[in-house]
Structure formats: structure tokens, C-alpha cells
Symmetry: C2
């Protein structure tokens, strides 16, 4: 993919422009985008202009740039995220009606837990996850389930790397984590109190498609809530999602 | 955005590659993609390779290409689609619990109704819309609401253009449509029996943000179902979404 002149392809540069948008930074000027990409200003401005023309970015009356509806449309057409989410949503709604906190669906993406969907009760407790947001695999309950079932090479890379403490109780010792992952594979679920926020407990189970774990289904409970109803609801929902994924083939 | 050598920018070519994916065609070989874009095979193959490296496309064991999870992630980060959909989903679920058919959210995009979300009851009747799918604005109930409140120049362009009959009962006469659009603006909803499929009736209402109509909320009912409960449920839900959009500012 290297480009003889600059060492990166045009595709990379376009992705660098799109990557300057985050769940917290949804509006930027073209100049801010140029600075954040590190690309020459003229290159960045030209790419922004092309992306606006193509509908992947939108420019408002104040010349601020945001992600465009056509990017959303392209991304959802026939994506595996949409298929998973379509299979999962009715079952997530059922979990939500029973547990009435936060119900979430995550996949493993570049060694992090990427959240595809989140349903939240109006009175639910704290929860920092966002749709299309990410959390470290060694800290979030969804991430731990995904890591437990990941390719061994990915698991080794994560456990050998720096393990950041997201909260005071995040487990950052590789040996302890290895034992937790083995226990997740054996028991079929994880309960992770305080690993993301002191006030909450994550509970997660794996979701399989064609025998492989493709997602983690989780709830975020207040720290002192009973976890048994959540484990049961999540395991039932995972079975339902797996049946629907089979029916979609 | 013109490129001196080829008349289209690299961004255009990348969008042409991504645009070969549809809700019905989610897997393609690189050769099929090249043929469908009309680009030289070597150019198309190089772009596909770059997009796979960047995570915007994914290649499976059988060398088939699909849309990548990173494209989905980029698209949803801080997009206006996500904000609208987040505000709307709880209210759509409430409509769904009352009406138990199909509940949908659409926006106007390039003179078509683009569907951002759809909830469906397991026993609901026929419905051809899909998430990230489109329908003509002059035929679908959502489209009619969006067209009624669109910029007059867009309305003129649609009404002057060819008006395709999606079903036998689709209204394709510009004068009749103009009267329907005026009635939608006056009454605040539309009931469109048979305009998309003979067996169903669409009911839609506008959703406003900062005084502008930004979306249409709709249900698809079996042709003979009562429409009054749907109109009431949709109007209440639109009010709720509008309040939540205000609170999100």
C-alpha cells in the first residue's frame, strides 16, 4: 500500500482525515482537521473538499465540518456490524426489559472492545461506553469475554503489552488476567466489578456464530446489584441471538 | 475536485468502490468490484487492497471482500445519524410496543428517503424498507413527509422529474402530489395506502430540530388496519424525540 512519493496511500490519508472525528469531537474546522492529521494544509483541505463533494463529510453554514450521512449509509449497507446488531437487538430489548440498566453489544476490533449497540434505561446508573466507542479489552467485561476467546496471538500481544488501569480496581497483572480468561472460557461468563468505574459492575457473555465467538453481550449494573439475574438473562439472550444468526445465513 | 489526469478525484474512486456494496450485495470478489466500478482493474485492485489495509474493507478466507468494521466505526462516531437515532430509539420502542408492526425513522438524502432505523414485530406484515436502504420520496409515507417540508428547490426538482410508480397505486401525477404535500403540511401527518406495496399502508409524521424538519417517523401497517392509533402514537413520539433533541444540544 505504500505510495512511492509519500510512504502512505491516498486511502490512508482519507482515513486519517476521517479518524480526526471522535465521539467527543463531532464538529471541526478544515484547519483543525489539517492540524490533527499532520498532513500538509493544502493536502488536507483538498481531501476535505473532495469528501464534502462525495457526501462523506458535510459542511454547515458556519463552515464547520461533520461526518456525512452518505458515510453512514455506505458503512451500514451489508456490514457485518448491521447483521450482528439486527440479530441482537430484539434479544437486547428483552434483557433490557428484565434488567432495566444498560445492555450492550461489543466486538473485538484492533485489540479493543468496540461497542456496536447500547440500550439504556432512563434511570440506569453510570456507564461510560458509547455506541461506536471503545474500551480496553483487559478492563471491560465485554473486552474480557472477547479476549478470552480471541486468537492466542492477539491474547499474547495484549497480555505482553502495557495494561493500563482504567480504574483503581482494573486488573493489570498479566498472570491474574490469564487465570481470569481461563475461568471465563470454563464458566461462560464474567463478572467484573469496578474494573471500569468504581460504582458499577460489568457482566458479559460470549455470542457465537459458526462456532466462533463474534461478540460479547453485556450489562452494566450498579456496583451493589445482584448479578445472577443478569447472567441468566444474558445467557438466554446469547442463545437467541445465535439461533437468529443461524437463521440469517 | 477534478483530477487533472482522469477527471475524478481519488476520493471519488474510493467512494465508487464502496458504492458497489448494497444491502443485497454484501460480499464481492475484487474482480467483481473492479467490473462494477468501471475503473481500470489495476486501479480498482489497488484501492481494494488499500481499503483492506485501512480496515474499511475486510477480506475473508475465500478472498471475498465485505465492508469492514472500521468503516462502520468511523461512520457512527459523532454522526448526525447517530444523534437522531439515539434520541429516537426509546420513542420508537414505545410506538412499537403500542402498534406492534414496523416503526421507522428516515431522513432526506439526495432526494430520497434514507432509513436510519427500523424496529419490527416478529408477526408484522410486509415491509420492503431496510436500515440504510432508500425509497423514493414521492412514494413512501416517510418520503412524502420529508418532501412536504423540503427546500422548495428540492421539491420542484422531484416534482419536475420522472415520478416512478413503485406500485400500482403510487401517485405519479405532480399536481396531485403537490396537493398531497400541502395537506401534509397542514395536517401534520400522511396516510399513504398502497403507494409502496398493495398490501400495506404507511403512516408518517415529521420530526423537528431547531424548527426544521430533520426526519420522518413512520409505521407500516397491514392495508386494512386502523390508522388512528398509529397517527396518535407517532405524533406523541415525535414530540418526545423533539424534546430529547433539544436536551442533547
Amino acid at each position: 500500500m505504500a505510495n512511492s512519493r509519500s510512504g502512505d496511500s491516498m486511502t490512508d490519508r482519507i482515513v486519517r482525515v476521517l479518524d480526526t472525528f471522535t465521539t467527543e469531537r463531532t464538529m471541526q474546522t478544515a484547519t483543525e482537521i489539517a492540524e490533527r492529521t499532520g498532513l500538509p494544509a493544502s493536502t488536507a483541505h483538498r481531501i476535505v473538499g473532495d469528501l464534502v463533494t462525495a457526501g462523506l463529510l458535510e459542511r454547515d453554514e458556519d463552515h464547520r465540518i461533520r461526518l456525512g450521512m452518505h458515510l453512514w449509509e455506505l458503512a451500514l449497507r451489508g456490514s457485518s456490524a448491521l447483521r450482528l446488531r439486527q440479530a441482537a437487538l430484539p434479544h437486547m430489548e428483552h434483557v433490557q426489559s428484565l434488567i432495566r440498566e444498560h445492555t450492550q453489544l461489543a466486538v473485538l476490533e484492533q485489540e479493543e472492545a468496540l461497542f456496536l449497540e447500547r440500550l439504556s434505561h432512563p434511570d440506569a446508573g453510570a456507564n461510560i461506553t458509547r455506541i461506536a466507542g471503545r474500551l480496553p479489552v483487559h478492563a471491560s467485561s465485554s473486552g474480557l469475554v472477547l479476549l478470552a476467546h480471541a486468537d492466542p496471538s492477539i491474547r499474547a500481544r495484549v497480555l505482553d503489552g502495557p495494561l493500563r488501569a482504567v480504574a483503581r480496581e482494573t486488573v493489570t497483572d498479566a498472570t491474574t488476567l490469564r487465570a481470569m480468561l481461563a475461568s471465563i472460557r470454563r464458566r461462560g461468563y464474567v463478572i467484573a466489578p469496578g474494573s471500569i468505574e468504581a460504582v458499577s459492575t460489568g457482566v458479559a457473555v460470549p455470542v457465537r456464530d459458526r462456532g466462533e465467538v463474534v461478540a460479547a453481550l453485556s450489562v452494566v449494573l450498579p456496583r451493589d446489584a445482584a448479578t445472577e439475574p443478569a447472567v441468566t438473562a444474558l445467557m438466554d439472550a446469547a442463545k437467541g441471538i445465535e439461533a437468529d444468526l443461524r437463521a440469517m445465513r
